[in-house]
Symmetry: C2
Subunit: 259 residues, 2 copies
DNA sequence: AGGCGCTCGTGAACGCGTGCACAAATCGTG
DNA sequence: CACGATTTGTGCACGCGTTCACGAGCGCCT
């Protein structure tokens, strides 16, 4: 178990490990507005850190839009999203942003723009593999629809689970993966199986043409270069918190640190 | 709902936003082995990026230990953890690591060291607030014990849920929070309530003395400076994947990128 | 004992990300 | 029409994080 494939050990903490797939011909070291990319209205190669923040802005914008606001200043939006306002403005500037100086950003327009950049215009179909403890919670979660996704299919290897209906979907056997992925046009999958099964599931997903994987199993997945993997490991998050907790307690132990 | 507190908008993507709490008196720009910190055997102020990777190393080490290995080279361990070997060695060097040149690292010793640094020697007690869809999955998850934690108490505001028994624990009313946190010595809590309740829950937790929070609700929490918040937002992860998916499809759309 | 091969530890260089600070642009008003 | 208030867009510098490359130490074999 837990055998490493030879291809690539994806799944670093942050970015989904996209190695340059042939491009990056532009050798300019410039920081301002990289000009490579599709000619006209296409995204000019956003920094990963920016990409990771756009969803946060989008969430905050939806809250503002529901509140009736139609324009936001960078300061307001930044506070709502929990970031620095300068950072926010720089991030939005990568989107050829259409903020108005002296006024702010048009909320609706900005939502559209970010959703377009993130590719959320069409609701993306997501497959969920492993309908156990966690998988059932995810399948039953109603919050994805408003964020641009819908769970299109559930899979499990346990024959006693196959056929169960959860949130309007029936659980299908993992053998049907290829067929369903094709007919439902699924490009993104979630792995919620035990760790010992995760690599095999990932391999099967990749074989079916899935190119993005969100992995809940506590293990490293090896996938081909064109496949993105992001992982969520609960225990790791807790352990990071534990470190800071530990550090706090040893810090308060010393009475005076400043001489 | 979703009112912002004035204190501090914690919950950036990665690091738990620990602003310097008075120290950092050492003005040296040096990168090698910062020498501030407790005098003898204490942690020399690890970089956040390193802290975030230590749990990954720990997991890989446990797998190796179960496999019977007693020494690992940095190359092996790095591959098992999905990182660069130079990065691994630098990370471990911050722990005053006791690797042996020409041989490698002693697996057991390294496990002990990392667990000590992360403060995992004592099993830390964790409180879980919000025993809904997701909360039940977390409460029923058996994998925390081996990672240094145990769920010590469950809380919910819904009176019909209070009293339910899940995984050997009975759900208690949120009003009992202060009492239980004190008696169980809880310093870390998980929020799995709807977003509109999360800030109020966080406030209550902070009032009880909880200083680390893992937040599953899709919202920004404001907490005092000495409290660490990490968030896990499923939809954000999917949206980041969606971006790369979108990018892939627009890339393959152009037939030839290289002139 | 001496040499040889192996692996750790780390100095140094590079690139990315962040935040300050300011110029440019827009709106409202008299 | 001119001016001031306001807010965006961004040049620039700094610090953190990553990676290469190599010296330093350790064990083994002869
Ligand atoms: N439950 C949690 O709160 C939690 C927390 C952190 C991490 N995780 C991780 O998430 C994963 C799932 O956790 P869980 O509690 O739901 O486990 P679980 O055992 O309840 O569910 C796993 C499901 O995967 C199915 N499965 C096994 N092999 C499969 C295969 N080859 N193909 C398809 N399906 C397969 C099983 O039949 C089962 O239904 C685990 O890796 C766990 O470590 C869970
Ligand atoms: N279920 C998922 O897979 C999933 C995925 C992504 C994000 N989330 C987020 O996780 C959170 C929980 O999701 P869920 O599906 O379990 O929701 P849920 O509605 O099933 O459960 C929420 C629980 O919190 C309790 N609660 C409400 N207010 C409370 C309060 N003030 N104090 C204590 N308890 C309170 C409710 O009684 C309920 O039991 C939500 O914020 C959701 O957006 C869930």
């Amino acid at each position: 178990m837990s055998q490493q494939r030879s291809e690539r050990p994806a799944g670093s903490d942050s970015r989904p490990a996209r190695s340059a797939a042939g491009l990056s011909a532009d050798g300019s070291p410039g920081h301002g507005l990289p000009e490579r990319g599709a000619p006209a209205s296409e995204l000019p190669d956003l920094p990963e850190a920016t990409v990771a923040r756009l969803p946060e802005y989008l969430r905050a914008l939806h809250v503002l839009a529901d509140g009736g606001g139609d324009v936001v200043s960078s300061e307001e939006l930044a506070q709502a999203a929990g970031v620095n306002s300068a950072k926010l403005r720089k991030d939005l500037s990568y989107l050829r942003s259409n903020g108005t100086r002296g006024v702010g950003y048009d909320v609706g327009q900005l939502i559209d723009k970010i959703e377009h950049v993130l590719g959320l215009n069409q609701h993306r179909a997501v497959a969920l593999v492993g309908v156990g403890n966690l998988g059932q919670a995810l399948a039953g979660y109603g919050g994805f629809g408003s964020r641009g996704f819908h769970i299109a299919a559930l899979f499990d290897a346990d024959p006693t689970r196959v056929g169960d209906r959860i949130a309007g979907l029936s659980v299908r056997h993992i053998d049907e993966l290829a067929e369903v992925v094709a007919t439902e046009h699924i490009a993104i999958a979630v792995i919620a199986t035990p760790a010992h099964a995760a690599q095999a599931v990932a391999d099967a997903l990749v074989d079916c043409g899935v190119t993005s994987i969100l992995n809940f199993a506590p293990c490293v997945l090896s996938v081909p270069e064109n496949v993105d993997v992001r992982k969520v490991d609960l225990a790791i998050e807790l352990q990071i918190l534990s470190f800071h907790e530990h550090r706090k307690s040893t810090l308060t132990a010393l009475p005076e640190a400043i001489s």
